[in-house]
Structures are given as C-alpha cells and as structure tokens.
C-alpha cells in the first residue's frame, strides 16, 4: 500500500547550495563482434551473473494489417519450445540453468531480457539462441497462448485505463498501426495461423534492426563471440519499418460510459521529438508541470490543494514515429469536470507565464542529481544502455547529459512552454459516468 504521490512545491534555497554529483560514473565499452554485431557493455565482476538486453526495432507495428496481433502472439511463443524441446522441456531446461529470459512486444520494439549465471553461461546462451532462431511454434502452444492473449484482450475491454488509451489512439493516429492495439482484436487473433506466426518471426527478428547491451560478469572478449553465437543465425533483413504517423487529435472532451464510483481520464496533444533542440527544455517543463515527484504543479493543484485525485501526472511520450504529451488521472464522477478545468488552467498558465527561476533551479537539481541513481545494478544498467541506443544517443551520453539539462535557460523554457503546451488542443477521454461534463463527440 504505497502512497505514490504527495505534496506542494517549496523550494529550499539553502539546500540547493549543496553540490550534486555531476554525472553517472559508469564506463561503457562498445564491443563489435567478429560477425559485425555491436553491443554496449558495462563490466562489473562483483556478482557472478550477466544481464543481457536485446531489442529489435519495429515491434507490433510490423503486423500485416490483416493479421493484427501476429507479432505480439509470435513474441509470446518464443519461450514455448525450440527444435526437439516442447514448451515444458524448454522451461525445465531454462530453470535447471537458473537462467531467466523474458520476451515482450510493444508498438516499436520486441525486447528480450536475459539473466544468466557465469558458471553456465554457454549453455544458457545456447538455449536462448535456439529459442530466438529456431522457435517451434507448435500448434498446441499456439492455441494455448492464443487463449491467454484473448483473455488479455477481453480484460482490456473492461479496463478503464485501457479503454481510455485505446479511444485516444484511435482518434490520434488515423490509419497508422499506432491507432490500434498491437494485441489485435478477438477476431484477428482467432484467425491467426502458424504460417502467420512464422511470417511475423521472419519480419521482426532480423539483424538490420538489432540493439544489444550487457552488464555484469562478462568481458568484451567474451561478449563478442557470444553475440555471434546468439544472434548470427538470424536473417540479415526484416520487413520495412513503419512510416511517420499522423496526429489527428483535436481539442475537446470524449466520454466513454463505464460503471463505477470513479472515472479514469487520459488526455493529450502533439508532443516533441527526441532530437529537437528544445527537448531538454521540454523535459524540464513537463517535470515541473506533471512530473512524478510530489512537488509537480498538477499534483499540487489537483491532489494536494483540492483532494480531487490520488495521483496525476503528465509525460512526454516518444514513439519511433510520433510524439505526444499525455496525462492521466482518476477522480470521483462528481469531481471530474472540476479536475479537468484545473488541468486546462495549469496548461494555460505554464504556456502563458512559463515557470519561476526557483522552479527551474530546483528541477534541474532534481533531474541532474537523480540521474546517476538510475545506474544501480546490472539489470537496470543493461536496460538503460539498450534504450539509449534505440533513441540514437552515443555512449558518452551519461557523461554529457547533465550539462545539457543545466544549459537550459529561463528564456528557453518560456519559449518552449508557449510552443509545447496548448490548452485548447487538449483532448480529454473520460471513461466513467462523469457528472456535469459535456462531450463534444
């Protein structure tokens, strides 16, 4: 029972006088295998295991529109057997090695997360290789896992947050794959065949879109050949990546009726690209307005001063082919309209007036001070490193990132606030039974 959110803004000038760690002290090596696969590595031999993170760009957006859900179901089937090993034999083999592999798919990425002990690394990597390159995709597994995916789809159909997100994406993204759920629909998933799964595998797991990071008890000399063993058997090229998505959202309120005491609200509009020169200013602004910390303006206004919600936040969301500013909260049906008014007002206020020098200074201190704290284990480090590669950062980024945050000026944030936050463009999707709230569509 965690109280996730709290509190009001109160800058303490005295405390700001403390020095803050300037940068993350991690040494990233770039390793290129004999076969030409590149990975980032942080060696740490304190604990005898390795965390390995692999990403394939494309994800569920690579689905043939007539086969929606194929990439998602394929990804869920990677751990269901390989060659002569069926699902159960594969799981027993993995567990006997005390290795763990997990596989996931989202709209842009297929992710593979592996942990294995140093003492049986070769066997653990070989078993993972067999799963990735020679998956069985046998019919009994396909039918069983299909049943699990269908259960998820039916659960989302009665989940307020999922309903809200689905409605917003449908309005935003036109004909692009982002407009629909990568899980597919009950009908599309029911219709998927083994051939569809095999096709999705060939399309999505290819070497021309691969990103790798490792952290832990492994050297560069060991990692290089391991990458060739693990990934060398994958096809060289996969399916074409999706194109830019449209942004068709327009300001207003949408209501999706749903029973219960509380409504869930998702809201958003166009965002900002990761390589925009103003991205750091935008990040600081979003942190001040709707960040996860307790002193953010939305938390202060909607929760602390008025008690209208348990938690509210906003986010700069970067897909590969689209950007949004998104926010979410829940509120009693009787107070939704008031809460939406407060959000709109805060949106206007930051766009018109920017932020105070104290807010800017405190947020910079927070962002720069908290950054090194993320790199606190093999698992988190490997995950951060692979994510950096996917958004096009260089391996010296952890050393330069805080200087970029510190370089943002009051003029920058004022200019960017006026550009980024547009209250009239906000689309609110309300899933519930809100009182005194009028929908425009």
């Amino acid at each position: 029972m965690t109280s996730m959110f709290r509190t009001t803004l109160r800058t303490c000038a005295l405390m700001l006088a403390f020095a803050v760690p300037a940068r993350a002290e991690i040494a990233i090596e770039t390793v290129t295998s004999p076969g030409g696969i590149t990975a980032w590595l942080v060696e740490d031999h304190n604990i005898p295991f390795t965390a390995l993170e692999i990403r394939f760009r494309g994800g569920t957006s690579l689905d043939d529109p007539a086969k929606r859900g194929a990439v998602n179901l394929m990804t869920a089937l990677i751990e269901e057997g390989t060659g002569e090993l069926d699902s159960v034999e594969f799981a027993r083999a993995r567990d006997s090695l005390a290795a763990s592999y997990s596989f996931g798919a989202d709209e842009d990425t297929i992710s593979v997360s592996a942990r294995f002990l140093t003492e049986n690394r070769e066997q653990a990597v070989d078993l993972l290789r067999r799963a990735l390159t020679e998956p069985a995709f046998d019919q009994p597994s396909l039918d069983r896992v299909r049943g699990q995916v269908l259960a998820n789809i039916r659960a989302d159909a009665k989940d307020q947050s999922a309903i809200a997100g689905k409605a917003l994406r449908a309005m935003a993204f036109g004909d692009h794959p982002y407009a629909t759920s990568g899980d597919g629909t009950e009908a599309s998933v029911q219709a998927l065949t083994r051939d569809d799964i095999v096709t999705a595998h060939t399309a999505a797991l290819a070497r021309d879109r691969i990103f790798v990071a490792a952290s832990g008890d492994i050297t560069a000399e060991e990692l290089g050949p391991m990458l060739d063993t693990l990934l060398g058997g994958l096809p060289q090229t996969g399916a074409p990546l999706p194109e830019r998505a449209p942004m068709d959202l327009a300001g207003g309120v949408t209501i999706v009726p749903f029973p219960g005491p509380q409504a869930t609200i998702v809201f958003g509009h166009q965002g900002i690209t990761r390589d925009d020169p103003d991205f750091f200013a935008a990040s600081i602004l979003n942190e001040i307005l709707g960040g996860g910390r307790f002193s953010a303006r939305l938390m202060s206004e909607v929760r602390e001063k008025r008690g209208l919600t348990y938690g509210i936040g906003s986010y700069l969301v970067g897909y590969d082919q689209a950007e949004m500013v998104l926010g979410q909260f829940s509120s009693a049906n009787g107070t939704v309209a008031q809460a939406i008014d407060v959000v709109r007002e805060e949106w206007r206020k930051i766009a018109d007036e920017g932020v105070t020098p104290e807010e800017l200074a405190a947020t910079k201190t927070y962002l720069t001070g908290s950054y090194p704290l993320r790199f606190d284990g093999n698992g988190p480090i490997a995950s951060i490193l692979v994510g950096m590669q996917m958004i096009g950062l260089t391996s010296d980024y952890p050393k330069t990132r805080n200087a970029k945050v510190d370089a943002v000026t009051m003029e920058d944030v004022k200019r960017v606030a006026a550009r980024l936050f547009r209250a009239d463009d906000l689309r609110f999707v309300v899933v519930g039974a809100p009182e005194d709230l009028v929908a425009d569509q």
Partner: protein, 444 residues
Amino acid sequence: MIRHAFAIGLLLASPSLADEVTSFVLPNGLEVVVIEDHRAPVVTQMMWYRVGAADETPGNSGIAHFLEHLMFKGTDTLAPGEFSATVEAQGGNDNAFTSWDYTAYFQRIAADRLDLMMTMEADRMRNLVLPEEDVLTERAVIVEERKSRTDSSPGALLSEQMRAAQFLNHPYGIPIIGWKHEIVELSRQDALDFYGLYYAPNNAILVVAGDVTPDAVRAMAEAHYGPLKPSEGITPRVRPSEPPQIAERRLTYRDARVSQAYMIRSYIAPERDPGDQAKAAALTILAELLGGSGTTSLFAQALQFGDAPVAVYSSASYDGTALDDTTFSVVAAPLPGVSLEDAEAGLDRVIATFLETGPDPDDFARIKIQIKAAQIYARDNVDGLARTYGEALTTGLSITDVQDWPSVLDAVTPEEVVAAAREVLDRSRAVTGYLVPEDEGVAQ
C-alpha cells in the same frame, strides 16, 4: 523427452551475504541494520515501524495508512511538503508504504546526503505537526485512493471480502486502507494518538543500504536518532487470535466490470517463526511446485496443457513473512465455456494426487537450484535486500532468521512438503471465492 539435456550440476558457490550486513542497537532501543553495496554512490535509508493496520483499535480502520500520508505534512521545523521537496532538491526520491504488520518510510539518494536524510527522518519521528486543514484534504485523497485501488477493481473487492471471511477475529481481516465508512470519520486526533504511541526509536528499525560503512552510519545514527526519547507505551504485539475454523467458507462476487471469471481459494497457513522456519519453507516450495510456473507447475500441466485444458491461468502463492498466521492461495481462471466448478474440481484433483504421490524428484531439484540462484540475483538489487530485512524484522524475525532462510529452504525434504500440504490444504479451513461477470449465472 530429453528433459535432462541441460540439467547440469550447479556449483553456485555464492559468498555469504552475512559478510555485508552489520547491525547494532542504540541505547534508546533503535535497531540499525547496515547493508553494504559499494557498486554505485547511492544509499537508501528506510525507517520501519513495528506497527501496521493490524495494530489499529476497532473502529479506526485505515489510521495506520492515513498517518503514513500525514507524515509528509511537516514538523516544528519543516513546512508541509518540505520533506519531499528537500529530498528532491538533492536529486533523491522518497516514499512510504503501509502493511498489516509494518509502516515504512524511505529515501533513495546520493550517498553523501545520508546525514541530511537522517536529520529529517529523526525530526518527524517525534515532532510531527498536523494542521487540521491539511488533515481534511489528505483524508479526501485517501478516499480517492480507496476508490482507485479497491472500489474500481472487482478483483480487489473480492479479495477484501475473502479476507474478511478468512479472519473472523484477527485484524488481518480488515483492509489496510480501511473500510470506507471508517476512513471518512478518521480525525486529526486519531492520527496523533497513533503517532504518539507507536512512532518512537524503541518501536523502529533503521535499515541503511548502499555505498556506506557501518562506522559512518553508527556515528550519524547516534547523532540524529540517539537523542530521541523512547515511547513508554509499547507493549507486546498480541492480536486477537482466530477460533478454529470448522466449516468451509464460500462466497461469490458478481460485478459488471469483470471480464475474466476466476476462482481463488485461500487456506489459513502458519507463518515464519523466529528460529522455526521449516514449515514455512516447506510451504514456500509447495507453492512453487503446485503453481509457481505457468508452464511446468502441477496446476499448469493439469489445467492448461493436454488435450482438454480447462484453464487459461493458474497459480499458487504463499508468503510466510507475517507476524501471525497467514494464507496459502490457489487460483484458476477457466477457459471460455468451462465452468468455475470444473476449474475448481481440476485444482482439487491436482492437490489430491499430490498428497498421494508427493513431488516429482526432478521438479524438486530444479526448484532448489533456482532458490540458490535467486540469492545471487538478489544481490543486484540492494533496495530489495533492505526491504527483505525490514519486513523480517517487523514481523518478529531476526537477522539470523533472514540469513538462515536460504539454507532452511535448501534443507526441505519432499516428505516435509507433503506433510505441510496435508496440514494446510484442507478445504474446511479455507475460503473459496468466485469472481463472475454480473450477467453470468453461476451454479450453487
């Protein structure tokens, strides 16, 4: 079947964690545990109080959790919200959580800021100030929290009803967040009374984990926590105990928001006791064997695989870290067209067979390997270790119990697992709940 293809022997010679854990007690009764991890310049301070929702007086449900929120409202020297704002200005994060047996507060921050964190945590242990206005606004927040977590979730509502049915007399039957009709009546004075009695050094455990040395932590702890006065009112934590359960309890909850029907059964089960963790260890392994894996466990194999599967999901779970008797749970979610009764009958058949045949030796060996390896992986997450110690020490266990736990698990025999299963998996000492969509009939 080539199941043995990869089953090689693991050496798993992991250095003992005990080398990195130090503990001491201040004269005012504050216990201190230091867990060293020098890989990153980060520290986590956790203050654990030996008080939780199960220590509330009747009629005041939710006060432990409400006070947890109010602990961020300020002291004689800190304004409301200043605690978190100060942590954030230092680049750190802070939060808190409440359970039946404990309430804990933590900050995660650069290691050289520990002294400041201790200054503030010591301050709010004894000097909390609660303006009436802030109390009322925060009460509205926890009402919204209850709506989000419980009232909007059919599964959470069923779980709440099941606990109430499981524990007729023990306060584990009352939800941590509280019953709504009691939350809305909680007052500033209720919070201050609870605070004054329980928030004191002799009722707390400080866990510091990360890039610190025990000597430095001791010096700081003596300076900041040393001067705090102990509470006179701390008494042994004896809660009302359960009468013997003599009849099976069953309930059905219908809700239009349910998409996937499922059945869940919770059996009353013993918890880990200091110096006596063998039965809890056997139950931990039993849960793994029955339902720890969606592929290889006995439930998954019987209900989700084969020619005529009946379930889309199944599992078994047990967490023995509690002050008093806890629960062992099993779950099955039927496939479309399969009734809850048939899914439940499937679970019962697996249990009956297991009681006759005992564990498969290969399954048993594999789980032992994974338990050993888990100790290695656990060292990657020092915050997780801090939490492990805090939970154990606030539920009556000792540091030795925590450090013995892996070897106690390793020593469990198949016979002990079967004996524990026979004792616990008795439907006359269980609550069985059905969660069904409102429009769907259910046979009685």
